[in-house]
């Protein structure tokens, strides 16, 4: 009885996935508007960041608020190699990633002995140490001046130029491929023995330990996977934007953003970071383009000519961090399982006949 039903259900998402992939691959062929491409690239970047953090924070339950360290490391090493040593980025990025993973394992070996809030505090402190080093080691990193990328050398394979990185299209495809890879990695984590170990640690680390799961080993593996893709996303960001400084790739705000993407969508799910990106990126772009204040004027809540209206028009464009804050507070208070969890609850509330989904335990604090 259940088999054909299950098959029918599995086919629909597969079809949707297929169409989605084809549409995403064909997108730059149909749309040439650079701003549309820019927004898509930002979406990919945000998905990559969220999915990378998700491996450690979502599946393994280790709330790192210091991922800016690996993000900044990826961006800095790739751009420094390119700018100061003329190493092409498709080689440099591997050096950056390997370095980030090595650093992550060292940091992990030290900080994974700590639990709960102490681990959070230690992860923030580590990221701040990296920021201070990048800021003060002026001779090595250019300090507060940052690194401005002159140009990316054209990518040639066998004498043929694949791309010269002038348009946004190569970044679009690189971002898409990387986002797809991180999503696949999360799927792999969720469905593998390794992932079960991670989730066991998240649910109850003492119980997991008593069953023979080595906590330091598996926490470090989760961190290494997470740092690998986080550094990659940092390199991608640096190459795409073409300018980095300690204030844009290493501050605490960047670390918070990693967590936020997952919190808003739903922690420890594959779709969570994607939902988070779909909420955050359009929102901050709309604020930047002053769509929100235009909307307020149109509805007639405030008039454009009043001082309040002028104030909103001038300032709402810089308010995206404020909106982030409000979002976090609302999500934590009203949807602690993220948008996805909230939707799932609504859905299961409507259809009482279907057996309730096993609730993800939310009682396992580890202070």
């Amino acid at each position: 009885m259940r088999l054909p039903l299950a098959r029918g259900f599995a086919l629909a998402p597969l079809l949707a996935l297929g169409t989605g992939v084809v549409a995403l691959v064909a997108f730059p062929l149909a749309v040439t508007n650079p701003y549309a491409l820019h927004v898509m690239i930002l979406l990919f970047l945000t998905v990559i960041q969220g999915e990378s953090w998700n491996v450690l924070g979502g599946y393994t339950g280790q709330y790192s608020v210091g991922h800016a360290a690996y993000f900044g490391l990826g961006a800095y090493v790739t751009l420094m190699l390119l700018q100061f040593r003329q190493v092409p980025p498709w080689w440099g990025v591997w050096i950056a990633i390997l370095l980030a993973v090595a650093v992550a394992i060292v940091i992990g070996s030290i900080t994974f002995r700590l639990r709960g809030p102490y681990f959070v505090l230690a992860s923030i402190a580590v990221a701040e140490i990296f920021r201070l080093i990048a800021l003060n080691w002026t001779g090595f990193t250019n300090g507060a001046e940052g690194i401005l990328l002159n140009e990316i050398p054209p990518l040639r394979i066998g004498g043929r130029t694949i791309t010269d990185f002038v348009s946004k299209v190569p970044f679009y495809y690189a971002g898409l491929a990387l986002a797809a890879t991180t999503i696949a990695v999360n799927w792999g984590v969720q469905h593998s023995k390794l992932g079960y170990y991670f989730q066991a640690i998240r649910e109850d680390q003492d119980a997991a330990h008593s069953l023979g799961i080595s906590l330091p080993v598996y926490k470090n593996i989760a961190l290494a996977i997470s740092a690998f893709f986080t550094a990659w996303s940092g390199a991608f960001y640096g190459l795409y934007v073409g300018f980095i400084d300690p204030g844009t790739v290493l501050p605490v705000e960047v670390s918070v953003q990693f967590v936020l993407i997952c919190i808003i969508g739903g922690i420890g799910t594959i779709a969570g970071p994607m939902v988070g990106a779909l909420v955050l990126v359009p929102l901050s772009e709309a604020l930047r383009a002053n769509l929100l204040s235009d909307l307020l004027f149109k509805i007639g809540i405030v008039s454009e000519d009043t001082p309040t209206g002028a104030f909103l028009k001038d300032n709402l464009a810089h308010a995206h961090a404020l909106i982030y804050g409000i979002l976090v507070v609302l999500v934590i208070l009203f949807m602690p399982d993220g948008v996805l969890g909230f939707a799932k609850k609504l859905f299961s509330g409507r259809r009482r006949q279907t057996p309730a989904l096993p609730e993800v335990s939310s009682e396992k604090g580890s202070a």
Binding site: T111, I129, A321, L322, V329, K364, A367
Partner: protein
Amino acid sequence: MVFLQSLLSGVLVGGTYALVGIGLTLIFGVMRVINFAHGDLLMIGMYLTFYLFTLSGIDPFLSIVIVIPLMFAFGAFLQRTFIHRVLNALPQNQILLTIGLGLIMSNTVMLVFTSDYKILSTSYSSGSVQLAGLSVSEPLLVSFVITAAITGALYWFLIKTDMGQAIRATAQDREAAQLMGVNVRRMGVIAFGLGAALAGTAGALISPTYYIFPQVGGAFTLKAFVVVVLGGMGSIIGATVGGVIIGAVESLSASYVSSGLKDLFVYVLFLLVLLLKPSGLLGKSRM
């Protein structure tokens, strides 16, 4: 001589750190919530003081009389509206909630007052007095004296008064305190109010010697953690000692290594304490 000089100014600055740390540890002790918006409360105290000074000419050290009740009310409001809803939630969610509140505070201030650096300069801002051959910055000395007085008053309040004992009882064992008839919810509101008032006071006291800008809080939040972890989470004497030690470490590394790297030493010390003696100098282990 350089050593003594920088040690002394470090200890004086450390007094303010102790004040910030005591607020944080009080909140943690009573509610087991780590307040990541603590530095932003300090920032609000700085802005209050700045505008009291520029708009109505109230001296920054006198302004604490106004700042303390205002910040207490603000802290009590935060506790009643937001924090008490997550007291039984995952610690991660509590942390994220306070991070969110901090983002709201710093960015609202940025929207209203712009992100320009403000400087509160009084007639004594750069004054100094000679003390046994050492020169001591006048505003630092005054703020240290006030800090010491406030800390003393707080000890007295917590140890001698009924309400202080109720707060300590709640911190020791929430359920038992409730069984003894302590209104633990009210104690939470008072603890958060006191914590906010202490952070605001610290902001007022350092405003003559610091740049005032919306993002100033972040550094203080982290420093307050260092102070509290160093002294032992939940221990008020620990936070006092921790504050003075952190002030001294910062000042010494600024004069012997580089002033840009002084925070680096603080964070490295923090990691070392977390790893070697996570219960802190004077705290019981809660790991």
